[in-house]
Amino acid sequence: MELSTRHLLGIKDLTKDDINLILSTAEQFKEVLQRPVKKVPSLRDVTIVNLFYENSTRTRMSFELAERRLSADVLNFAASSSSAAKGETLLDTVNNILSMKVDMVVMRHSASGAPHFLAKHIPAAIINAGDGINEHPTQALLDAFSMREKTGRLEGLKVAIIGDIMHSRVALSNIYLLTKMGAEIMVAGPPTLIPKYITDAFGIRVEYNIKKALEWCDVANVLRIQLERQNQPLFSSLREYNIAYGINRRLLESLKKEIVIMHPGPINRGVELDSDVADGPFSIILNQVENGVAVRMAALYLLANRQE
């Protein structure tokens, strides 16, 4: 068994077998992370650069920890404190890094398709850690891992993706992945934040009433409102968004069943999620973060095996 691809650019390129292989390998790495020594020597001859052209806390730390837990050598690059600020092109920067004998590149970029461009021009393996509004594959994998861990299945699971669908790479990767794994998907949020072609493109349900969406689903994956990607006002105020689409304890208790609450972070508290939900008993937000390391270890491990 091996992955069908040399890079992890998006869930779009993965097969169902690939996804199952990553998730089952991640389960074994999760066990490694419970041991007294949380480290294995698998990638001790591999050098990985984390190339972050966009800010990140969780993803960058999660990747770095995953790399170190696999015994890889790690280089960190943040665009804000590098020569990229002097105008060096992406390709020049990466070729310079690769001439220092680097095997894999983990990359986040604000331009959609940046890692795909790089994959065409350089020999190293590339893992997309989020590109613009396109994909964030490892987030979708860790979301799926967490959903399956909590509910025991993906097939037939009803998942509502709620909030800023338009600007969310997490949403797109989740939709690709859950579709491939046979889950049922609904997107919910204000009409201005849901792309109008989404039903045609993916054949998924759209709901504008948050309560109806929550009543339908088993799992609610709540997304962050991405103010940094909205050039024009798409709803009148954060307060109004919270009133119409925010999720609070009272709303959850009015449902006739228990649902699982997820969020990829960082949370805008009091906007898409109130604190009594984010920190409440139905939330698995911190489990997601914990699982993120195991899932990224699996992706890195399986891709390192594909390199000659």
């Binding site: 068994m1 091996e2 292989l21 089952s24 390998t25 389960e27 074994q28 790495f29 066990e31 490694v32 041991r35 007294p36 020594v37 480290k39 294995v40 020597p41 698998s42 990638l43 001859d45 491990y301 399986l302 390192a304 095996n305 390199q307």
Partner: protein, 173 residues
């Protein structure tokens, strides 16, 4: 194809291996049994079963170890990882590793590395059903051996288990 151990011989070997472990570790008070995933588990399950009939239903500390992430050929071929389940510390314990076939010794080398991550064992011993002599690539030997055989490296040793729906036997191809 040549038979190395018949069904009856496998049963007797398992019994003997269990008694040998019992003889050296009396009561298994400070001893833990670790089966190597995936194929060593068939043997370790049977030996642990046998040990239970010898010393009663006293709880035997029995774990399973997967060495995939410790292999020295990670970049050459991909192996699917199996579950590791060692729900106890091996610090200052006597460890008996169990695998089906000892050949080059590389699997056991990886297992020794992996075990270090679960604590510093007092001693480590190795128990195998089949020892393919004179084909070691590393200085590793087995303490408890079902049958020792001489083979060419082109030959294959196949171990079949009743747990997998076959009858217990070992053949040389």
């Amino acid at each position: 194809m040549k038979a190395i151990l018949t069904e009856q011989q496998v049963a007797l070997s398992i019994k003997r291996l269990a008694y040998e472990i019992y003889e050296n570790h009396l009561n298994l008070d400070n001893t833990v049994i670790i089966g190597i995933q995936p194929r060593g588990i068939y043997l370790s399950d049977r030996i642990v079963e046998e040990l239970k009939t010898i010393i009663g239903d006293k709880k035997i500390q029995y774990g399973k170890l997967d060495i995939t992430f410790y292999r020295d050929d990670v970049r050459k071929s991909l192996h699917v990882a199996n579950a590791t389940d060692i729900p106890f510390s091996i610090e200052n314990k006597h460890v008996v590793i169990i695998d089906d076939v000892l050949w080059t010794g590389r699997t056991i080398r990886s297992a020794l590395d992996a075990l270090l991550d679960f604590g510093r064992a007092s001693t480590v011993e190795l128990c195998v059903l089949i020892d393919r002599r004179f084909s070691r690539e590393l200085p590793i030997h087995a303490d408890y051996v079902g049958a020792a055989i001489d083979t060419f490296s082109s030959q294959k040793v196949i171990v079949r288990w009743k747990q997998k729906g076959d009858k217990d036997e070992v053949v040389l191809m």
